[in-house]
């Protein structure tokens, strides 16, 4: 008994030390990731004078939202000084249709590939999977030719199409893997009940797809909102998405470098994806482990 107690005492002490180490490592990592964000936020809240005087990491003496206001309403992107808000709406107009269309098509694809298996379904799926591994750069030139021929060059609809085509592989993969775990008997039962391809999809399959829809929406929104390459290549000038505009603000060479405005604009650009994660993050994790969820 005495031995046992000594033993457990030792183990307890060891546990505490290990736990302490664990937390230390976690805190260090958290700090490592959070520090740049803190610097950005604090810089965006300072006035330009204060930035020039103080050090980079010092907190603002006087908190001012002038830089945020300026970035949103007045910052110059190239020669147009309309602020980033115009480009924010460009991004919204691009991202929302692209996310919705690619998610919807992915759902239909996944449904057809798993529940209405046709000859060559596996080959089609393999090709789609292959599409996930094609780098952006490879498709730039052929895509610009296609957009030119369709008359969609340098326009938001063109950009939407590019993102839908590119995202389709991923969304199909998500939905296909989710639907594989849904029993085929459900579709058989509905077939005998008299429902057809689309009735089954709308009435039975789609209503039980919420977790994977959320995954697809988050993934696609993050990808499309944060994309720079397609935006810069296929939608220049006034149709450019926010990421491209941000780059132009930060890289403007005339006049004084307005760090606070740059930081505010960067934060504004990152905010929507952050918001999506905060609102739907728990569904994201749930959807990724959706194989274990039963109906």
């Amino acid at each position: 008994m005495a031995d046992l107690q000594t033993y457990s005492h030792d183990a307890g002490w060891k546990n505490t030390v290990l736990r302490g180490l664990l937390y230390l490592v976690l805190i260090l990592f958290a700090a490592y990731y959070l520090f740049p964000l803190i610097v950005m936020i604090s810089t965006s809240l300072k006035s330009l004078d204060e930035i020039r005087e103080g050090s980079l990491i010092s907190l603002p003496r006087v908190v001012t939202f002038d830089a945020w206001n300026y970035a949103w309403n007045e910052a110059c992107v190239g020669v147009e000084c309309t602020g980033i808000k115009v480009y924010f709406w460009n991004s919204v107009k691009m991202a929302i249709p692209a996310v919705l269309i690619s998610t919807f098509l992915g759902a239909i694809n996944g449904y057809a590939l798993t529940k209405w298996r046709f000859k060559g379904a596996n080959i089609v799926f393999a090709l789609l999977l292959f599409g996930c591994f094609i780098p952006f750069q490879v498709v730039l030139l052929p895509m610009s030719q296609v957009l030119g021929k369709l008359g969609l060059a340098s326009s938001t609809p063109g950009l939407v199409m590019v993102h839908v085509v590119y995202g389709l592989c991923f969304t199909t993969l998500f939905f296909r893997n989710y639907y594989v775990s849904i029993p085929d008997e459900l579709v058989k039962a509905a077939t005998i009940d008299g429902a057809g391809f689309f009735t089954i999809f709308w009435r039975i399959i789609l209503p039980i797809s919420t977790p994977i829809i959320v995954v697809s929406v988050i993934w696609q929104f993050t990808q499309i909102w944060n994309d720079f390459l397609f935006g810069a290549s296929f939608a220049s000038g006034e149709n450019a998405p926010m990421t491209v505009a941000l780059n132009n603000i930060v890289n403007t060479t005339t006049g004084v470098k307005q760090y606070n405005v740059d930081m505010a604009a960067a934060l504004l650009t990152g905010l929507p994806t952050l918001l999506v994660y905060v609102l739907a993050g728990k569904y994201f994790v749930r959807g990724l482990t959706a194989g274990s969820v039963k109906g």
């Binding site: 029993p183 459900l186 077939t191 039975i204 109906g295």
Partner: protein
């Protein structure tokens, strides 16, 4: 309600033939059970009847209508699945009425239909719940309700009880039987459980390897199995098989079983014509455990259907109602069914009575009944 006819129905997946020329016909109101081990093609056959898969050859008729190329929804059938396949996003009420709604039945009629079915199956309190809030047995009822509400020509059941626990399975079995008696509907029921087949069916189709082995009433299948597979598959514990020789024992046919210390000779009670060709040849002697018991009264009288022999007892397995007694004859373990108060102790020797009116003889080569 209608009759069902399968005429030379075949099904192949690529080069693999899973069903070979199945011929079956049942009358209106019959309860047909398709039974067999896994992979025997029974579920495929059910899917062909449902129209979820298309046949490679042959004809399927409901009543007088050939339905080979008719869409499942127009065959007027309803199916209960092994996993129940309830729509998880809909309430029980919606699940039951979904098929009616698709077919354009008015809301008023749907409400009445669902009320009737719910009353019949006693699931009225569950109507507004989702399937995830139901127990296994309740889901089973809802799945049956979904089939019943459509009032189809034929009900198809695909192993509907195999996901339930043992007690509930027996209860639901009785309930399905009652339901069939009350509604008089035509039912095709797939199972791998021979007890379910025996208790439910008006006729059983035993299948193996895509071939229909026997199609008959439960009692005939039990008493006169077509071949050794059917004999061994139906009945629990299964039939005993012993290698034997058919001999002419002073004008009467008998089976002679070789064993250490002299052969056992069992005179046959009945000797059909077909046995004649096998005199002097090897046969497989099949007897069910209940045909082999402790010594019966009257078994010594001449002309009795019982024949006595002595054997040493190897193992006993009490089941309560009967004690299964394992004896060793010619290197084969044979199970006899003995009344508990007559049960021997292992190692002991005792006299057994074989009921020769309940035996089967099989050809050892073809395994077919002689």
């Amino acid at each position: 309600m209608a009759s069902l006819t399968l005429d030379k129905v075949r099904k192949a997946f690529g080069p693999v033939e899973v069903l070979k020329e199945i011929n079956l016909a049942i009358e209106d109101g019959e309860f047909l059970v398709l039974v067999g081990p896994s992979g025997c093609g029974k579920s495929t056959l059910l899917n062909l009847i449902a129209g979820l898969e298309s046949s490679t050859g042959g004809e399927i008729r409901i009543g007088d209508r050939v339905i080979n190329d008719v869409h499942p929804k127009d065959r007027n059938i309803a199916m209960v699945f092994q996993s129940y396949a309830l729509y998880p996003n809909m309430t029980v009420r919606k699940n039951i009425t979904f098929g009616l709604e698709i077919r354009g039945v008015s809301a008023q009629e749907r409400d009445k239909a669902v009320a009737d079915v719910a009353k019949l199956l006693q699931i009225e309190p569950l109507l507004d719940r989702k399937p995830s809030q139901l127990s296994g047995g309740q889901r089973q009822r809802v799945a049956m309700g979904r089939a019943l509400v459509r009032d189809p020509d034929i009900f198809l059941f695909d192993e509907p009880l195999s996901n339930l626990d043992a007690k509930l399975r027996v209860d639901m079995r009785t309930e399905i039987k009652k339901l069939h008696q009350r509604l008089g509907s035509t039912i095709v029921y797939v199972t791998h459980d021979q007890i379910e087949a025996m208790t439910l069916a008006s006729r059983i189709a035993v299948m193996k390897g895509g071939i229909l082995q026997q199609f008959d009433t439960p009692q005939n299948i039990y008493e006169r199995p077509n071949n050794m597979f059917v004999a061994g598959f139906i009945g629990s514990p299964s039939m005993n098989f012993v290698d034997a020789t058919l001999i002419d024992n002073g004008g009467k046919l008998a089976v002679s079983i070789e064993r250490d210390g002299g052969p056992i000779t069992l005179p046959l009670f009945e000797a059909p014509e077909s046995y004649k060709a096998y005199v002097g040849k090897k046969v497989v002697f099949g007897i069910r455990p209940e045909g082999l018991t402790h010594k019966r009264t009257g078994s010594d009288e001449p002309g009795s259907q019982y024949v006595n022999f002595d054997s040493k007892v190897e193992v006993i397995e009490p089941t309560g109602a009967d004690t299964m007694t394992v004896i060793d004859i010619a290197g084969k373990e044979i199970v006899a069914r003995v009344r508990p108060d007559r049960a021997p102790t292992p190692g002991e020797s005792m006299t057994f009575s074989a009921d020769m009116s309940q035996i089967s003889l099989f050809d050892p080569e073809t395994e077919l009944r002689i």
